[in-house]
């Protein structure tokens, strides 16, 4: 698409086109510049605050002595637990939608007329809608269901369950994408060899789709790591002077700590917030790097 291909003859038109392209390039650049400004500002304020004491201290009324230990540990436990819950369920749901419901009635076409096809269609629409539900409403669900009705209290487990439900639609969607990349010719070959459906899924489809599934799941979890609103509603604590000892312990989390420090009027605490943001962003960066590594490594192995 070079300008030379343009059949436009008139000079005025060419000038107008150049102007428009310049304008649209600027509108891509502006948000990216804002991003750079944001990160630069946070790094300048926060990087100097991050040291060993900051990482290993408990919150304090004096900002110089306050640290993020319980928040950091809380975030790690919370998201590891949530991932452990959501991964098997999400992958199983994706396998059902892609390999069973869809295939049972032939791809496309008649699928909707069978009861199973209808159910699958309902789940599909439902997942698309769930992905658009604001995260704070998952918090209300967690508060009503896990904290109150199931009696978990304002515990680590209640928080993890809430986050697990929150990222479930993303895990299902990512896993379906990954399953769809496995070529049908492999499925047909497995059928021709007399494989049952589960043998096909277990030995052919899953190994090939695994890199995509894991990458998608890590990215979904990295979204959960930054989630604040649902944890606020569940009742995460901002002033915790001990570490969680079990799943029923009260908990704190990095985003909650950032929210609390940002909302305080003293500049010292806002410096702390910037420091905690640096740690949070570093965590997200690590997770994303891990996703890329996992994909690269497993792809190499499956090709071998």
């Amino acid at each position: 698409m070079s300008t030379a291909l343009s059949p436009t003859g008139r000079r005025a038109d060419r000038v107008r086109e150049r102007l428009f392209v310049a304008l649209s390039a600027v509108s891509v650049a502006v948000p990216l510049l804002v991003l750079a400004l944001l990160l630069g500002d946070v790094l300048r304020t926060g990087l100097g605050r991050v040291d060993w004491a900051f990482l290993t201290s408990y919150p304090s009324r004096h900002w110089e002595r306050a640290g993020i230990l319980p928040a950091l540990v809380g975030t790690l436990l919370l998201n590891a637990t949530a991932a452990a819950m959501t991964l098997p369920v999400g992958v199983a749901a994706a396998i059902w939608l892609e390999e069973y419901a869809e295939a049972a009635a032939g791809r496309g076409g008649r699928a909707r007329r069978t009861a199973m096809g209808w159910l699958a269609r309902l789940v599909e629409v439902n997942i698309a809608n769930l992905a658009g539900v604001p995260s704070i409403l998952y918090g209300l669900l967690g508060l009503g269901l896990f904290v109150r009705t199931l009696g978990m209290g304002r515990s680590l487990l209640a928080g993890a369950c809430t986050l697990a439900l929150l990222v479930l639609p993303v895990v299902v969607l990512a896993s379906r994408e990954a399953l769809r990349t496995v070529p049908d010719s492999l499925r047909e070959a497995a059928w021709a060899l007399g494989a049952t459906r589960w043998q096909l899924v277990r030995r052919v489809v899953l190994p090939l789709a695994l890199p995509g599934i894991l990458t998608g799941t890590i990215l979904a979890v990295s979204r959960a790591v930054g989630e604040t609103a649902p944890l606020v509603v569940i009742g995460a604590l901002v002033y915790l002077t001990f570490l969680p000892t079990s799943l029923s312990s009260p908990f704190s989390a990095l985003p909650i700590q950032i929210y609390n420090w940002t909302s305080r009027p003293q500049a010292g605490f806002q410096t702390n917030a910037a420091g905690a943001i640096v740690v949070l962003l570093a965590t997200l960066l690590l997770l994303n790097a891990a996703a890329i590594l996992v994909r690269a490594r497993l792809q190499r192995r499956s090709r071998a």
């Binding site: 502006v30 789940v123 769930l130 658009g132 704070i136 409403l137």
Partner: protein, 305 residues
């Protein structure tokens, strides 16, 4: 050969062993969990909301203009919260729509492949930053800057929160709109060019109109996103339910109210506790409406493309 003697057709395979049937039930159960999640959200919201309206008449909720459930003199008029939500949403989408749409046109129609492969991941970074970080940016960095330019800007204000939320939503609109533009068949572009139209008129008068339902879908989904956005407004827009459309003023959105009550220690079963579910129900209905419309339009657009 399959044990039952049934011919293994391409879509049936050998007869399913019993253990695989059980397994299949497990897979279906996992799929149904998503429906249970929706049912759970609806049940929790509906239960507490019904209890709320047993104490507060619907009339007071819809026609009062004050929202003061946490004060001694209680009023339950939802409008201040709705106005705060609409104000921040309008600012955010007002910023994000032109930027997002132009970005999409640039990426889909004009940018060389090399530029696109660099810019798209960068835009995704923008979408991956936690909202609490954007909230920090709005309150600590942007508001002081704006206060030098905008007279009468309060320390917590709708403007700063809305602007930052707009930046957050740009990649969302841009990626959906780019999908819509790319789905327009090349035959339309070639036809316009063959008729002697320049590239710019082709894009603006043929490609963009052909993608309009996909672009509208992006807009609706972005509105739903902005209405439900919580941390930016809770941090930077304030927690005062004032019925105003002045962007310089401190406002409280529906989501920020839920956060405000959650940060305090309101005991379960009280009327104050139930207000957050009533507000949550309204939030659910509003986002569901915009999402449903947007998803339907997006699907229709795919079919045409």
């Amino acid at each position: 050969m399959s044990p039952s003697g049934r011919a293994p057709g391409p879509f049936h395979g050998p007869a399913t062993p019993p253990f695989e049937r059980i397994l299949e039930f497990g897979l279906v159960a996992c799929g149904l969990l998503s429906i249970l999640t929706t049912a759970g959200i609806v049940a929790v919201l509906a239960g507490e909301t019904v209890a709320f309206f047993r104490e507060v008449p619907v009339r007071a909720f819809l026609f009062d203009t004050q929202w003061t459930p946490l004060f001694a003199d209680k009023h339950f008029g939802i409008w201040p919260l709705v106005a705060g939500t609409l104000l921040t949403t309008a600012i955010a989408v007002g910023i994000a729509l032109p930027f997002g749409l132009l970005s999409a046109i640039f990426l889909a129609e004009f940018a060389p492949a090399r530029v696109r492969s660099v810019v798209k991941p960068l835009l995704e970074v923008l979408a991956g930053i936690p909202t609490v970080v954007y909230g920090y940016f709005a309150l600590v960095t942007l508001t002081p800057l704006l206060q030098r330019v905008v007279p009468g800007l309060s320390g917590f204000n709708a403007l700063s929160a809305g602007l930052v939320m707009g930046v957050m939503i740009v990649p969302f609109i841009s990626s959906l709109a780019e999908d819509a533009l790319s789905a327009v068949p090349d035959a339309l572009r070639e036809g316009a060019l063959a008729l002697g139209a320049g590239r710019l008129p082709t894009v603006l008068r043929v490609v963009v109109p052909a993608a309009r339902s996909g672009i509208l879908a992006a807009l609706l989904l972005a509105v739903a996103r902005a209405i439900g956005e919580t941390m930016i407004v809770a941090i930077a827009a304030g927690q005062q339910p004032i019925l105003t459309l002045d962007p310089r003023s401190s406002v409280e959105t529906m989501t920020a109210y839920i956060v405000q009550v959650s940060m305090g220690d309101v005991p379960a079963g009280t009327l104050e506790y139930r207000t957050i579910f009533a507000v949550g129900t309204l939030l659910f209905l509003m986002t569901l409406g915009f999402n449903t419309l947007g998803l339907r339009l997006a699907r229709g657009a795919q079919r045409v493309g």
